[in-house]
Symmetry: C2
Subunit: 465 residues, 2 copies
C-alpha cells in the first residue's frame, strides 16, 4: 500500500462531481462512492454499500472485539451543484491549490473534513495496526438534498451503529485559529398555508368591498403569529424550551464578533432580536417562526387591480433544545386554523421536520449523569488537542442551522455527537470558489488522530481493569 497522502486523496475525491440534486451527475456520484469504497478497503475496512431509493449510503467498518470502544465517523460524499460556473476562478471539479487553500466544489462541504478523519484513521492504523478501537464510517450521499433516506436507513441498520458516540466535522468555526465544538443545532418545522377566497380573481372595482381579500386575511393571520416584541405568538410555543445556561452565554461572549460588524455584514441598521438576546445569542438559543415565502395576486410590473382568489405562505420554525417538532407543528396548524379569518378557506400542507439537538460537554453544571464516558474523554482530549494544535481553546457553541440527522442519531440510535467545526466563513460553502484551508486540514488530522488514539487507550485501560 502506498503511503496515504491526504492532499492527493482529497484532490481525487473532489475531482468526482458528486452532485446529488441533479441526475445528470449520476456518474460523478458513482465515481465518488467507488473512490471511497476503494480507499476504505485500502485501510482494511469492511465496506458495505447500502442501497437507498436514490444514492447509496456507505458503511465502512473496522471490526474488533466487543470490548473495544466503537466510534462512528459521519460524513457525506455528495456536494452542492456548482452553478454559476462562470464565477469560479478555477473549474469546480478540478481541485486547485492557491494560497494555502484547496479550491473545488465540496472541498469544505464535506469532502475535506471527511478526509481529515479518514486520514487520521489511516495514520493511526499505519502506526498501530492493532489499535484497539472499532470504527464505523457512515457516509451518506443525500445530505445536500435533505437526507431523505437517512431515517429509514437508521431504522434498519441501527444494530451496526451500537457505538459510544459520533465524530464528525460538518459545522463551522469563525477563524482558522479559533475552532468551535458545536454543542447544538436547531430543529425545523415547515408548513405551507393557502387561503382561498372567491372562486376566481375578481375585479377590485366591481366587487371590492363585498368579499374578504385572501391577501388581507393572510396578512392578518400571519401578523398574529408574532407579538410586539417579535416573540412567536403561538400558545405553548416556548413551553418546552430548555433554559439557556450561563456557560453557554459565556461561550458566545467569547466569540469576539462585534454587533456592528454583524449588522454591516447583514446590511441592516438594527437587529430584529427578541428581548434578552444579543443577535449572536438569538440565532443559537431562540426558536423562530419565519415567513420564507409569501405571495398572491399580481406581482408583475405596473398594476392589475384584482382581488386574488388565492394567497399562500411558506412558514418555517427553527426549534431549540426541548422543543418537539411534531408538537410545534401541531400547535402551529391549530393556531392557523383557529385564527383563519371568516370568508376564506385554509388549506395547510406540512413538509419536512427535524428535531433540535443539544449535547452538554463534561464538567458543566448541567452535564447529564449519563453522558457516555468515552464521549466525555473524547471531549477532554479534543479540548487539549485543539488548544495545542490551533493555539486557542475551542469554543463550545450551538449553531442556528439544522442538521436533522444529528438529532435522528440521538433519538433513533442513542448516539451523541462530537462536532468539530472545520470550515470557515471564507470557505464559500454552497457558493462559487468553495475552498478548504489546508492548515486547518493538517491540524484537524492531528486533532482527530489524538481523539481516536485517546479513546482506544481509554478502552484498553478499561479492559485491563
Amino acid at each position: 500500500m502506498d503511503a496515504f497522502d491526504p492532499l492527493r486523496k482529497l484532490k481525487e475525491f473532489i475531482s468526482y462531481p458528486s452532485v446529488s440534486a441533479d441526475s445528470a451527475f449520476a456518474a460523478g456520484m458513482k465515481d465518488a462512492r467507488e473512490f471511497l469504497e476503494k480507499t476504505f478497503a485500502e485501510l482494511g475496512l469492511v465496506v458495505e454499500t447500502v442501497p437507498t431509493p436514490l444514492h447509496p449510503i456507505l458503511l465502512a467498518r473496522r471490526e474488533g472485539p466487543a470490548e473495544w470502544p466503537h466510534v462512528v465517523i459521519y460524513g457525506h460524499y455528495d456536494v452542492q451543484p456548482p452553478d454559476p460556473l462562470n464565477l469560479w476562478e478555477s473549474p469546480a471539479f478540478e481541485p486547485t491549490e492557491r494560497d494555502g487553500r484547496l479550491y473545488g466544489r465540496g472541498a469544505a462541504d464535506n469532502k475535506g473534513p471527511l478526509m481529515v478523519h479518514l486520514s487520521a484513521v489511516a495514520q493511526l492504523l499505519r502506526d498501530n495496526p492493532d489499535l484497539p478501537l472499532r470504527i464505523t464510517f457512515l457516509v451518506e450521499g443525500e445530505e445536500e438534498i435533505g437526507s431523505p433516506s437517512f431515517v429509514p436507513f437508521l431504522e434498519t441498520h441501527k444494530d451496526k451503529l451500537d457505538a459510544e458516540f459520533v465524530l464528525l466535522s460538518d459545522t463551522g468555526s469563525p477563524r482558522p485559529d479559533q475552532i468551535v465544538i458545536t454543542t447544538g443545532l436547531r430543529g425545523i418545522v415547515c408548513v405551507e398555508a393557502e387561503l382561498t377566497g372567491p372562486r376566481t380573481d375578481l375585479h377590485s372595482g366591481v366587487h371590492g368591498g363585498a368579499v374578504e381579500n385572501p391577501l388581507r386575511a393572510l396578512v392578518r393571520l400571519c401578523a398574529s403569529l408574532h407579538d410586539a416584541d417579535g416573540r412567536v405568538n403561538i400558545p405553548g410555543f416556548y413551553d418546552a424550551v430548555t433554559e439557556v445556561q450561563p456557560w453557554e452565554r459565556e461561550q458566545v461572549s467569547r466569540l469576539g464578533q462585534r454587533e456592528e460588524e454583524y449588522a454591516e455584514f447583514l446590511g441592516v441598521d438594527t437587529f430584529g432580536t427578541t428581548p434578552g438576546f444579543t443577535p449572536f445569542e438569538a440565532v443559537r438559543f431562540q426558536p423562530t417562526l419565519e415567513f420564507n415565502g409569501l405571495g398572491g395576486g399580481y406581482q408583475g410590473e405596473g398594476s392589475k387591480t384584482v382581488i386574488p382568489s388565492k394567497a399562500m405562505v411558506k412558514i418555517s420554525c427553527r426549534l431549540v433544545a426541548g422543543q418537539d417538532p411534531q408538537d410545534i407543528q401541531e400547535k402551529l396548524l391549530q393556531t392557523l386554523r383557529e385564527r383563519c379569518p371568516a370568508g376564506v378557506k385554509l388549506e395547510c400542507r406540512t413538509a419536512h421536520c427535524g428535531a433540535p439537538y443539544r449535547v452538554v460537554p463534561p464538567h458543566r453544571p448541567d452535564t447529564p449523569a449519563n453522558l457516555n464516558p468515552y464521549l466525555a474523554k473524547a471531549y477532554d482530549e479534543a479540548d487539549r488537542a485543539i488548544t495545542e494544535a490551533f493555539g486557542n481553546a475551542p469554543l463550545y457553541l450551538r449553531e442556528g442551522g439544522s442538521v436533522p440527522i444529528i438529532a435522528d442519531l440521538k433519538t433513533l440510535v442513542g448516539l451523541d455527537s462530537l462536532m468539530i467545526g472545520l470550515f470557515l466563513p471564507e470557505d464559500n460553502l454552497h457558493a462559487p470558489n468553495e475552498s478548504f484551508h489546508l492548515g486547518v486540514m493538517e491540524k484537524g488530522i492531528t486533532v482527530s488522530r489524538r481523539i481516536l488514539q485517546h479513546i482506544a487507550e481509554q478502552g484498553a485501560k478499561e479492559s485491563m481493569k
Copy 2:
C-alpha cells in the same frame, strides 16, 4: 347617402381589430378610426382627428348657433385584446349574429353602445336636418389602457367641449329589461410599497432570529391598514366621504339580486363587507383598500428556508364621492411611513390616480341647485323613454368600478354625465365570446334619440322665450 343601417355599421366597426394595448394591431386601430371618420362625415359632422402620443382622439362636431344646446357624446374605439382566441366560438373580429346577439370583440365594450348613439343621431338628422342641437362626439382610442392622453387632451381642447352635459353608455345594467342609469363611479389610488431588510436573502437557520424578516414586517404593516371590522384604518380616510342618501339605498334594494346568488357567483360562504352595508351597497358606496398583489421570498414548489431581502405589496384604494385621490394617496403614504417597522427600509411608488364621480339626478332631496337644466330635462326624458322602451323604470345606481375620465370631464370641463348602462353581465366584456344584445341596441337607439330630440326641443322653447 345610403340609409344608415345600425347593425351593418356595427358589424363593419367590429371587423376592425382595434386593440390599443398591442402595437401589432396598429392597422386595426387606424381602420376603426377611419371608419368613424367616414361615418361621421356621412352624417355631415366636422371631423377633427387630434393626435396624442399613442392613439388619436376623434372629435366630430355638428356645429350651430351658440343658443342651441350642446351635448357631448363620449365613446371609445379601442377594444380589449381578444386572447385566448381558442375560446371564441366565432372569430373575435368576424362579427356573427346568434340568438339575438352580435358576437365579436368590442361588440359591447364599447362599439355597440357607441353605435347606439351614433345611430340615434343619424336618424334624428335624417328626419330633421335642421334639428337645433349642437352635438360633439368625443371618441378616444386609449380607454382600455387607462386613457393616458385624456387629461392632456381636455386641458388643451376644453373650449370645444363647452356643453350642457355628456351622454354616454359605457356602464352596465343587470337585465335586458332593467336598465341602470349610473350615478356614480369609484375613484382609484394605486401605491406600491417595497420593504428591504438584509442586503441579500439569508439562510434562515444561520441568521434567523437576528434580523427582521421583511415579510414579517410587511404582514404587520399591511394588517394594520384595516380594523377588526374590515374598515380602512388610515387616519382621516373616511373624513370626506359624502353621506349615502336614503334614495340611493332604496334604488339598490330594488335591484332584486339575492345575496345568496351573489355569494354563489363569487364562490364564497360569507361576505367581507363593513358593518352597515349589504354587499350590493358596499361595492357602490364604500371606499376600499385592497392588496392586489403581495410577494416576497420563495414561492415555488417545496421549501427554501430563506429570509428574503425584499418583500412588496401593490395596494389600490377605491374611493367614493367626496374623497380626493391626492389626499388619500398622501394619507396612505404617510401611514405606511409611520407604521413601517424598524429594521427594514420602505420605498413607495405611486401609480395612477382617478377621482370618484357622483351626479344627483333631478327631484332628489340632495339634487344640487346648479344641476344643468338641460341635463335635468335629459334625465326626465331618459326615465320616460327607458320606462316605455324597456318596460321598467330605470334604476339610479352608482357603480363600483372606476372610469376616471368621467370625473376628469367634471373637474376640468365642468360637465356632468348621463350614463345609460347598455351592457349586460352575460355580454362577456374583456372575455372570449363578447357580444351585444341586439334588442337592447334597438331600444337604446330609441331612448338616445328621444333624449337628444327632447333637448333640442327644450332649447328651441328656451330661445323662443
